[in-house]
């Protein structure tokens, strides 16, 4: 089990649920645009949000954001340690610094100030931002060395990250890091790309690490509307069973045996049950060959027939219904099981 920190009221590490992060893509100095984006992200299920603080105008805006955001705010600061200190002074809930672009003295100054305000710091090492290309092992060591510097200044409210844009290097760096430290880890890729390949890359890297038990908070970094980052982050948690309070529709991949329109039907069920916050598995199977057998993990479901379909629950057929009534029948079962 990792250690934990609190970012405002959000616990990261120490067995807390893996939290989902994103980052605003607005000008932080534009308060209205930025708070609007934060509300959108919070609605999509974002647990904490990062904003970049590249100038003093952003600090002024940050102060208002901190007061009005429904979720904790992380200030992202590069190069200028004074902006980090000003962000702390503005009341930010967490600070992210990159040890490759500030001096050791600045690291210590920031750590001392963060400690005095009880604000955690993420040490976010990036493969690309140091002078030479660092190996996964070197990335992990740089994160740990920076953590030691911060400990010397009295703070152990730390979260570590070692990102690269390469899936294999990222997984290797975090596996290495998790051997070296018990600080909570922020996982993700950097510069993952557009949705096209970025989602696949992030799903594999983040998913592999979570399956290994590595990772306390995550960001799916995409060149896209950041709401997409949150949606994909939630999907990863759902896909590997770390988030269970939703209706999972299990569907067969359809083949020559299929007797109902499985895809259309599965999507209808997904849409109609999207509001239900309870762990339920509903199976939509195109035939009786694999239907009930392959749906043993499902709470209930349907095996499609030509005109009539079989509704089953806990592996037993409970009803044969006309195909027109199948959706209604499944929703009734979902609602009953939901209440």
């Amino acid at each position: 089990m990792t250690k934990h920190v609190y970012v405002k009221n959000l616990k990261i590490g120490g067995g807390a649920p893996v939290s989902v992060q994103s980052m605003t893509d607005t000008l932080t100095s534009d308060y209205d645009a930025t708070i609007a984006r934060i509300l959108e992200l919070a609605n999509a299920g974002c647990d904490l949000v990062r904003v970049s603080v590249p100038d003093t105008q952003s600090v002024a805006s940050l102060r208002k954001l901190v007061n009005n955001s429904p979720i904790p705010i992380v200030a992202d600061v590069h190069y200028d340690y004074k902006l980090a200190l000003a962000s702390l002074e503005a009341g930010v809930h967490k600070l992210r610094v990159n040890p490759s672009n500030i001096t050791k003295d600045a690291v210590k100054l920031i750590a001392t100030e963060a400690k005095s305000r009880n604000v955690p710091i993420r040490i976010g090492v990036n493969a690309g931002s140091s002078q030479e290309r660092l190996s996964p092992k070197a990335l992990a060591e740089l994160a740990v060395d920076t953590a030691k510097l911060m400990e010397d200044s009295g703070t152990d409210q730390l979260v570590l990250a070692v990102k690269s844009s390469n899936v294999r290097d990222t997984v290797e760096a975090y596996r290495e890091l998790s051997k070296l430290t018990d600080y909570p880890l922020h996982i993700g890729l950097t510069e993952a790309g557009t949705e096209n390949l970025g989602i696949t890359k992030s799903s594999i890297a983040i998913g592999s690490l979570l399956l290994d038990g590595i990772g306390d908070t995550l960001r799916v970094s995409l060149t896209a509307n950041p709401v997409r980052e949150v949606e994909e982050g939630r999907k990863i948690l759902r896909a590997i069973g770390l988030q269970k309070d939703f209706v999972e529709v299990i569907a067969c991949p359809t083949c020559a045996r299929t007797q109902i329109e499985v895809e259309k039907f599965a999507k209808q069920v997904e849409l109609a049950t999207a509001h239900i916050r309870k762990p339920l598995k509903i199976a939509v199977m195109g035939c009786s060959v694999n239907g009930i057998g392959e749906s043993k993990g499902a709470d209930f479901g349907v095996c499609g027939g030509k005109q009539h379909s079989l509704i089953f629950k806990n592996g037993e057929i409970i009803k044969t219904v006309d195909n027109d009534c199948v959706l209604q029948e499944l929703l009734k079962l979902a609602e009953v099981d939901y209440e």
Copy 2:
């Protein structure tokens, strides 16, 4: 290194490139619809295609498909071993059987006949299709036991698979299986669901295994048009560096520092270079803060400025161009590097 088999002229295992499979969703007995789907899949990059053979009309169609398909065909047979034998007689290139729904005697008969025709068999165990819910370890053992039965009948032209609809169980079952056998492995989930969660589940399961060096051929099983399965399969291979002959656009996730429309621009570059079959990395970065530094892995790229942007190559700025000319500049570089 695993052993290998040949499916017609396609090598699976033994260090061959990981091949991408899919399955037709047409009635196999409908030759015209099925061959049309196969051509569509082959165009999308499908290396071999599975068709279900649930009846004798399908066998008649299979004979024509085998002659006219540009990619090798796998016959998927359940319950009735006579359909398996008939598929072999029809000249199919590979057979898939599920040991949970045929007898041991049928397994031996099929193996003997496949051996005499030099046709490989996939032993496709599914968590759902046995009487009781099998653990990952039990799935792996069932696959290996069935392989032994087939070896007793003289064939070792085998590919093994142990799928479940659960990411964690699937990864565990294949890790177990790879310890027990050196036969090539077909990896994937079963009943992964619609594109909504199915892509994430498959990416994580298949990606994790491939990162471990497990898997010789894959199917992303989706309740969707099977062309989507092939597209996602290719993405997984690209995401972890197992397929390199394409243009990868690395882009920053955009933030308050961004000075160009990174997402729009990255998508334009992706689209304009989709035809190039050569390993190239092009970076699209929104600012000069992280721009060149974080793009060290890129062959060339752009750091966006307000009116002018920096074009860099191998880490060196080679040009400052007007923002209107950036796309053209990058494509010129891509074509030169391509020729």
